[in-house]
Amino acid sequence: MFIDLLIGAVKAVVVLLLVLNLTALLLWFERKGSALIQDRVGANRANLLGLGARLGMPNLGLINTLLADPVKLFTKEDFVPDGADRFLHWLAPFLALFPVLVTFAVVPIGDAVTIAGHRIVLQAASLHDDALYVLATIGIGVYGIALGGWASNNRWSLLGGIRASAQMISYELAMGLGVVAVVMTFGTLSLQEICRSQGGVWFGWLPRWGIFVQPVAFLMLLAAGMAESKRVPFDLPEAESELVSGYFTEYSGSKQAVFMMTDFAEVALIAVLLTTFFLGGWQVPYLYRDGFILPGGVHWALSGPAVAILGVISFFIKTLVLCCLQLLVRWTLPRFRYDQLMRFGWKFLVPVGLLNLVATAFVIVLAGH
Amino acid sequence: MTYDFPPLALILFFPALGFLFNLFFGRRYGRSTVNVVGPAAIFGAFAVGLWAFVRLLLMPAGGALGVVLWPWIEAGAFHTDFGLRLDALSGVMTLVVTGVGAFIHLYSVGYMEHDEDYARYFAYMNLFALSMLLLVLADNLLLMFVGWEGVGLCSYLLISFWYTNPQYAYNGRKAFIVNRVGDAGFILGMLTLLLALGSHGVMTLNFTQLRAHSALLSTAVATTAALLLFLGATGKSAQLPLYVWLPDAMVGPTPVSALIHAATMVTAGVYMVARLSFLYRLAPQAMDVVALVGCVTAFFAATIAIVQTDIKRVLAYSTVSQIGYMFLGAGVGAFASGIFHVMTHAFFKGLLFLCAGAVIHALSGEQDMRRMGGLWRRLPVTYATMLIATLAISAVPGFSGFFSKDLILEAVFTSGHWWLWILAVVTAGLTDFYMFRLIFMTFHGECRVEPEKLHHTHEAPAVMTVPLIVLAVCSTFGGLVGLPKGLLWGDAFGRFLAPVVGTFKPALEASALTLGGCAGLAGLAGIALAWLFYLARPELPENIAASLGALYRLLAGKYYVDEFYNLVISRPLFWISTFVLGRAVDTMTIDGFVNGTALSAEESAQALRRVETGNVQFYVLVYLLGAVAVAAYYVYLVIR
């Protein structure tokens, strides 16, 4: 009893730490990676004792940025504008971050492993209706942004907040349709089950990943997810050139840091969800419970823990690739206009999603009989 | 012995189709199409009727063709089909209705040439044919009543065909209302039969079954039912006391008068009595009433006819008179003779009306005989055919009317009603008088037509004269089917109808020749008198009218029956409606209730409107109090 509680607590803490570190990593990648893409240096002043140069990575500044950015943000003045709703102004960032963080609880990072007689599912919390839970938390996530914009007593912030909430609830629909298509395909709401059913191969070589069954849903979820995380080309709520910084114009210091963490956590969340739904989650191609079985029939036996570790590594590789993909898009595509954004969401994604749903249902019924 | 014969439905189908087409598409497709569709519908029905009649003739005596189209009314033990039945009686009637009707439709094409409302006219005519055939072919009393009402409706529609004239519309209404009185009798008679038989467990109105179970009826019930039904017949067939609508019905187009108010509809009463002959035979007193009413009507109408100056009114009273003969025949038990007279009368009276129509048509609408005369040169075909018809109605030997009227007179005498016979013979003389008066005033003597109308006078087109000629042939030879007993195929008509209406059993012997001679003498006297009055000594009538002033005014005023009805029935009714029902009941009582309700609602609303505060929360509070009360009840339930 006690040990189970302990295991649960450990899992929760581990997942939380992983996510928070991932956001820091993404912050670094955004700073230095985008500089790399644009052929400039990027953040170049933070250099703790010339550590980066000594390690032979003068331009990457990994450790420096990872340390310097948080320190800078958390030591700045916590400014609250005059006439602001102080309570909500304080609450909003956490209201934004919290739903994103708790969403990670249901994401399976690996198959169940057995350690010392305890069967441990590598998933912080295992519900049966994981997919619904994900949709619910994402739906709640709107309020942090919206209230942050409203509580600042600033027109730009309010506009940003309104834009953000309108955009988020609009794209939630497309997202929901994509998730429903996936759920129909796998016949379960449990993310762990969805990952499990993506093991194995078709035709002897093609991994049974969701992306090969539901390519349309994959693209929809990718687009809708990026809109949910309010990143370019869907970054109208922030839109520096029009709204200064949108809903967090009036935020500074640690509260702004929380907003930024939310941003990157959302990027990570989208990557994690796409991985789980479409890229097999922790599945490694041709890797089964007792080792690899390659298409040619070659068998390479592995022990249980090794398989589990391989799965976790595979999960993180896929997630990171998808995170990088989202960050790369920022430097590739220009920003939409607001009407284009709404039209894309309502008049393109939703009809496509519905058609995809109907087609999926049709195939399921045909295959079922 | 009924043979299932589905094509019978076609007889109804064609007029129905024509009716719908003319009603809905007539104006769109134009006059030429309507002129084909209207008559063709009836000719089609006539053809099918002929086919069915031939089938009937080929069957053994007493057979019938029948078809049940669908079950109509199922109410408890009572059951009625929508069924048709063509036996000897309805066969003869069907042929008369469709045959005469077809030629009158044809005639109408010419007569209505200048009328803009041709489509409506033919629609009504087709609807009339449909209703009349339904009346004739119905295999039960209820369905017959549907047709009975249908012809009444069409009669109303066609009398007031030119509805823009208020008088015409009024006459149409009059016909309709007078018919209602008769129809009430019909309904009561029907219910009497149903109740009387129903108490014996026979809930039916089917003729065959009525007849089979007629022995269950007591004489009193049979008399009641027969008299009530006869009341209906007097309405539809324009007998005393309900004849008043028919002369006024002459304002309709003349072919309508020919078809509906001479040849077919007005004889429906006779047909009905003949159809229910088994019932009337059970009620001798009712038969006597029928005979008496028929005879008195015949005489009564004939006396009026001799002083009328409107050509159509003369014919109208003549029709009333002739139908009186038919009822007289039926009343003394000679149903077949009555029906025979229906048939011949349809020929010659239809022809007479059509001829009159041709005259009116030629004289641009002139109907007053005092402004006619000497037309025989200008309208030779009309004159010839009308003369034939007059000879027929005057019972000149050899013509159809002679055979039928002679049979009736003979039956009246041999049944023992000699005093009715005397009246009937006198009526025959009067008939000849007024008919020849009509011929002489119209076609002979000096021409009194207004000059500008005379200018347009011309013989009718072929489409009108052909029906005249056809009907003239029928009027001449149509009586031959009913030659008296002992002559060639003697009494073929009576034998043919006998299975349906029974045979006439004379109470006493009499020489047919003697009786016929008496009638012939009376007729001759009438013709001679007419010749004397209107050709030889034209000033004589006025002198007589002057010397017999009171009598003349009584006749010219049609015995003031209309005025009498007005005084005794219409005015009191009007007074009661206006003052008792209108003022006292409607205005004071009913309106008082209605206005009082409204007033009390308004008063209470004035008091209650304070509740409408416009404050939503106040409403919610009231609502909440209601919820508290309901919850309190449940608390009481739980605690108890």
Partner: protein, 197 residues
């Protein structure tokens, strides 16, 4: 549901519900309402109605309340001033409401407790069970609901559409430009419910 969990959740629900009616700023009221709804969703899940609990969170808390938020912003509603009027109405209303609660509590206190008798099956409250009921026994009502939503969408759009010739009546430029985007709000909201449902 254990007693302490019930006590915690019930307290939270009551406090937040009181917040709905006691907060003078409508946005704060709305926040309190959202908390109430989420707590109720947790109640549902704890009572075994897992799917309904999530639906409550997604639809009620996640979407309908956003609609309220938009309207509050669109109409630029400020915090209510304390008002003196309608004291009789208010006090009498509160009294009546208290009476109703008392009555309901009296009824609830006497309600039979069949919990021990019926042990829910493992499938109880799952989406499959709910869907089976909706698509068989309640099919007509379900379809009628879709019709209702359609009517509501059309009605809401027709009602909220700005009349062409009227000038904007919003007070501030911010609110004015809000309404330009706010037009899209009501309709998408509702149809989203249809799709999620």
């Amino acid at each position: 549901m254990t007693a302490w969990l019930f006590g915690f959740l019930a307290t939270l629900a009551l406090v937040s519900a009181l917040g709905v009616i006691l907060q003078r700023n409508p946005v704060h009221s709305l926040m309190a309402l959202i908390v109430t709804l989420l707590v109720t969703a947790v109640f549902f899940i704890a009572l075994g109605a897992v799917t309904i609990g999530f639906l409550q969170a997604i639809i009620y808390a996640g979407a309908i309340m956003v609609l309220f938020l938009f309207v509050i912003w669109l109409l630029n509603i400020q915090a209510e001033e304390r008002e003196a009027g309608h004291l009789a109405l208010k006090s009498f209303g509160a009294l009546a409401a208290a009476a109703l609660v008392a009555e309901l509590l009296a009824i609830a206190g006497r309600a039979p407790a069949p919990e021990a008798a019926v042990k829910p099956s493992p499938a109880y409250g799952t989406i499959a069970t709910l869907a089976a009921a909706l698509f068989s026994h309640y099919l007509i009502a379900f379809e009628a609901t879709s019709l209702l939503l359609l009517v509501a969408i059309v009605g809401a759009v027709a009602l909220a559409r700005r009349m062409p010739r009227r000038r904007s009546t919003a007070a501030s430029p911010a609110a004015a430009s809000v309404s330009a985007t706010g037009q899209d709000v009501s309709a998408p909201e509702v149809s989203r419910r249809a799709a999620s449902a």
